[in-house]
């Protein structure tokens, strides 16, 4: 009787362990990426960011105010320089609009514009909107671990699902065990590095640890990069629908 019971427990344990192991590997990476996206997006956020677009022979600085909500909605508006003040981009779900005060018109952008550079920077609309593309359109796979500031870092390679509407052949993410995204690399179809985004100066921001500076570096040209520097960042539980509306795109609250 005793033997039988011990054997039963042993079998149960074995089943549990192997099952846990199998699911764990697959689930883990998805969960880590999900957690990282949730971490940097929060439920909703309002931020003011300085953006510097650097090129070999010129450089341009912008100040942008950004609202995000969940993984689908975002609104950016340019505060400075004055020539571009009031230009804005609204994303709701998979739809996107842009507004220009000079011609006073809201223009609906074709979906293909999502992967285009925003304002001539190295960030695409997708990158800026912190879109959920990395979650929905990619399969994730563990590709090793590193350490950063004494904390464990998961290296995850993300390959696009077949038929996913994405332009990258692969993305590589480095996510710290506290779900801070340290690095996101973008590869083309031939798996050559095109650009890489790194999070720097991790410090308390908006009530949690957050990389204050994001740098998007072109792989082949060291002098071509864009830096995002968070001046202010506040996380909210929710933001009202009216912020992510076309009228708000025309008249964003300051």
């Amino acid at each position: 009787m005793q033997m039988k019971r011990a054997a039963y427990i042993f079998v149960c344990l074995a089943v549990l362990l192997t099952a846990g192991k199998d699911n764990g590997a697959a689930l883990d990476t998805d969960a880590i990426v999900q957690a990282a996206v949730t971490y940097y997006r929060g439920n909703a956020s309002v931020s003011t960011v300085d953006m510097i677009v650097h090129r070999p022979n010129w450089q341009r600085a912008y100040t942008i105010k950004a609202w995000t909500r969940g993984q689908k909605d975002s609104l950016f508006t340019i505060l400075a320089p004055s020539r571009d003040q009031g230009n804005g981009t609204l994303k709701r779900g998979r739809e996107m609009w842009t507004y220009n005060p000079k011609v006073n018109r809201v223009i609906k952008l074709p979906p293909s514009m999502m992967s285009q550079a925003w304002m001539g920077s190295d960030f695409s609309n997708n990158d800026l909107a912190k879109s959920d593309s990395i979650l929905e359109d990619y399969d994730h796979e563990a590709a090793g671990t590193e350490t950063h500031d004494g904390k464990k870092v998961y290296v995850i390679s993300a390959r696009p699902k077949s038929n996913a509407p994405v332009i990258w052949g692969m993305q590589k993410l480095k996510i710290r065990e506290d779900y801070i995204l340290l690095c996101q690399e973008f590869y083309d179809e031939d798996l050559r590095l095109v650009k890489a985004m790194t999070g720097e100066q991790i410090q308390p921001l908006g009530g949690k640890l957050f990389p204050k500076v994001w740098k998007m570096q072109k792989a082949d040209r060291p002098q071509a990069y864009t830096v995002l520097d968070y001046r202010e960042l506040v996380f909210h539980d929710d933001l009202s629908d009216s912020i992510f509306s076309l009228s708000s795109l025309k008249q964003p609250r300051r």
């Binding site: 320089p81 571009d84 000079k102 011609v103 018109r105 223009i107 609906k108 952008l109």
Partner: protein
Amino acid sequence: MTSIELKMAWRNIWRNPRRSILTMLAVAFACLLLIFMLSWQFGSYETMINSTVKIQTGHIQVQALEFREKNDIRLAVQDPAAIIRILKKTAGINAYTLRSKTFSLISSKNRTCGAMVIGIDPVREGRMSPLKKLVRKGRYFSSDDSNQAIIGSLLAKNLRVNIGDELIILGQGFDGSVAASMVKVKGIFNSGQDDFDRGLVHIPLKFFEAVYAMRGAVHEVVVTANSLKEVAEIKKKVAAGLASAGLKTKLVVLDWKQLMPGLIEAIKMDLVSGLIFYVILIVVVAFSILNTFLMAIFERTREFGILMALGISAGKLTRLLLLESMTMTLLGVFIGAIAGSLITSYFQAHGIVIPGSTELLRQYGLPERMHPRLSLLSASIGAGIVLLITSLTALYPALKVRRLRPLEAMMSA
């Protein structure tokens, strides 16, 4: 070679006039066909090059290094006046114009498309490119137009706009700022080339400069040469002029082959398929001539036997036969060359419309009426090849005669 041989050869030819005339006509026809086809090919290449070059790229362009590959608005020619000074000193230039271009969003009331916005100098462009003639609806720019646009017919259809409607242009300026402006559709052009009609918006260069904050810079200095032949020389001179001018930005001089690599590829492919056709044509002609010559010898075996019995040497007989075939070939080539040149020059003047090909040609932006181009080269290549091949073919039967034995030959047939 004596006159008696010539006389004999001449008489032999006309002893069977039908056969000889047919042989000569075969040669003449091959010659005519080759001359016409070659002239046609050369002519269509020139048409292709000139018509595509005129509306799109010009024969030569001066651009910033890498602009063609990257189309980056920052890669601009900062001081176009300096380039124009160089051009004015260069001989053989027919016209030049300045263009700026960048990709932007074009938005009508409820539709948005991406398109290439091109700033053009209304006066100079009008003189150089056929754009003015291609405007099918509305009108071409006048010299003082500002926020007006001439757009492609397919783009107009996609955006659902007509003459007088407003379009919003939204892009990025030279300094990285947002470039936005409203323009009114002044003209709609139809070049027949779909890429072109779908993706181009022309606005006056001055207006482009203001909208995109170009500060005097342009993207392309477009040059057309007096003739295609002079392009290489002009390119060399302009490049030398640029090198000695010592400009700040790195500029390159590109010719139409570099600007439109697809065009030269298309020409090469066409030339190869043409070559295959010519080889087949020549082989057919060669065999038909070989056949007539051989038949002549079989028919005349008895005659050759008698001639040999009378003491004519085998060498003399060969020479006689060669003389006959050469005379026929020369006559045939002569007739063919004259007829070919006449027919070709008729069509060179009047042009040909191939029924049903209009659509295809339109895709490549070519006019529907094609003109062959007769040149010394196309005429002499055609005639020369036919002459060479027939002479070689005639050698075989002429040499075969040497193996005849007089007695056997006399007894045959």
